[in-house]
Symmetry: C2
Subunit: 358 residues, 2 copies
């Protein structure tokens, strides 16, 4: 059975010196070794159905023997496709994006695509820069977080025909493919629970809202619930701060230093909430007896903090996974995938209770 393998002659017999050269083998080397043209080798690799079983076998043997692996730059140049997908996230330091990105990457991998990563540090101008940088690098498509960005940048992407998917937000009114949930609605539902518990004076610790529509929407969700309960909007005391436990701690102290302090503090994310929890403990305030605190995201932190945090569960991994699937579908040119709304369910745990009677 091996006999006809011996008929394959690898390399040119008249050019013995190019055996074992240190440059990696090229398509042409494989073609020569298999005794076919480069076009056929290319076909074997990319469209095997266009090729006889016999040649396929022979070519694959040569590929194997030579240890050939295609040069992606050349492939990209010729096919005008890089098979690289870019993701621009605020920061990987934030567990929610790290988790989502991990799922995104796993899914891309299954489809032979590679993940190109850049981060914007929650800065709008930096994000624009990164979008330009990754498209310049040839990213075939882009994963972006939230809707908020300059219309010019959307125009730029459209003109370049770069498919884009917005994640961590869902708004069917917007003309972009997206996967996520309704931040505003989710926070409104949580705020309703807070109001139902009897709280009338609320505080809010939020990430900076300037370039962050998710944060903004969550604050608006609280306002919606308050309005529905006929509470004056200015009853809501808001502190805007950066993303860290320490910031949450500081912000909590700031909210609690005045007279007539809020009886419930709603935080824009779990990290801030855990900071608030820490500050409360440090100030000798019991949660939820003396003050209620809520979070958002349901990261691991939320389940092991001193009191299990009442928060909103966000399906980070599913978002990352669907994002990859949708983008792959767009690139394959098939039918356009639909935007997907995922549920963001309340996690009622231990840090919300009725306010102390005065």
């Amino acid at each position: 059975m091996d006999s006809h393998a011996a008929h394959i002659h690898y390399g040119h017999m008249h050019e013995p010196q190019d055996i074992n050269t240190d440059a990696p083998p090229t398509l042409a080397d494989v073609a020569a070794a298999a005794g076919v043209s480069t076009a056929t080798v290319s076909r074997c690799l990319n469209n095997p159905e266009l090729v006889t079983e016999k040649t396929l076998e022979r070519v694959l043997a040569a590929v194997d023997h030579l240890g050939y692996s295609p040069n992606f730059s050349a492939r990209a140049l010729a096919s005008r496709r890089t098979n690289m997908i870019g993701a621009i996230i605020p920061t990987m330091d934030n567990a929610i994006f790290a988790r989502g990105l991990q799922a995104f990457q796993e899914e891309l991998q299954k489809n032979g695509c590679t993940l190109l990563v850049a981060s914007s540090s929650y800065k709008q101008d930096l994000e624009e820069e990164q979008i330009k940088a990754l498209t310049a690098r040839g990213a075939d498509a882009l994963l972006l977080i939230g809707y908020h960005r300059d219309p010019g940048i959307y125009a730029f992407l459209e003109k370049r025909r770069i498919p884009v998917l917005v994640a961590w937000a869902y708004d069917p009114a917007k003309p972009y493919l997206c996967v996520g949930f309704r931040n505003r609605d989710a926070m409104k539902r949580l705020a309703e629970k807070v109001l139902e518990a009897g709280h009338r004076k609320l505080g809010c610790i939020t990430a900076e809202t300037a370039a962050n529509d998710r944060a903004r929407e969550r604050v608006d969700g609280i306002r919606d619930a308050m309005a529905a309960a006929d509470l004056a909007p200015d009853t809501l005391e808001i502190v805007e701060t950066t993303y860290s436990i320490e910031s949450g701690d500081q912000a909590f102290r700031q909210l609690m230093q005045d007279t007539d302090t809020p009886t419930a503090i709603m935080c824009g994310n779990d990290v801030l909430a855990v900071g608030a929890l820490r500050a409360a403990a440090d100030m000798g305030l019991r949660v939820p007896e003396d003050v209620s605190i809520t979070g958002f995201d349901n990261i691991e932190l939320a389940s092991v903090s001193p009191q299990p945090l009442t928060t909103v569960h966000v399906p980070h991994r599913r978002m990352g996974q669907y994002a990859a699937q949708a983008l792959m579908k767009v690139l394959s040119g098939g039918d356009v995938p639909a935007s997907l709304e995922l549920p963001a369910d309340l996690c009622m745990r231990a840090t919300l209770a009725p306010p102390r009677k005065p």
Copy 2:
């Protein structure tokens, strides 16, 4: 002063139809617009010092006018350099790698390089696959975690002349560029503290050691300290498990179910330790009065868990940053950077105390 700008004629006057074509402009377009050769344009972009101020200005104006941005695939093909650096980490789900990667990426960005990410899920064969995949993609250099891998893969990388940097470990005896700390020594120091506190029966919860030299080294560190204190090696009860809070929880219960249970449980990382902490609370065991628990990594989790965790601080961000700097230096062809040992200091907090007297 503007007058001579008017002398620049953009585009060929005899080819009016190629204005506003949808394909992005190429080097040749810029060259034509500026009235120079493509070589000159290329020089303006890559080696401006080789070009007259006047032409530079003219070319840059054309670049600007046309909105030209170089095609990276073509550039990579011609220059045999992709300016992409690959990182293969176990998982971004793990905060320590997410943090390190974030710093790594920030530093790369400063140097005009892009980050290519893949994850191995702590599986050796998957890691090999990813190494091959990223090199095939043309990664100019690679960031790898820990030393443990098949010698064949090191040979492969050497043959391909792909610079590699090992992070999260430091072993001057190994022939690879690295940045990290001595896992074994750090854990040994922590174990010494545990023994000094009077513990004689230790337990250990570790991540799977098969393909994870960091985990293995940490366990060995405990053994070292025990040996130095003349304790029989089999006094150490070890449970090996996967990386998650829940696993830490389970493992703790397992260790504590026998008679003659350990008085101190040393965990291979903070996540497992937090799980142990949770299990202890659930079982009605007070920490550290009834049992001591230690972690490793000093992630945020460790400072906000019910009891502040005694652990080892690992400088994740500095590792990521130095890794990028070192790799950039290697690629620039200058002097070879040195491996860097970073300190891993003990964080003595609230979960370690002397054992209860029996």
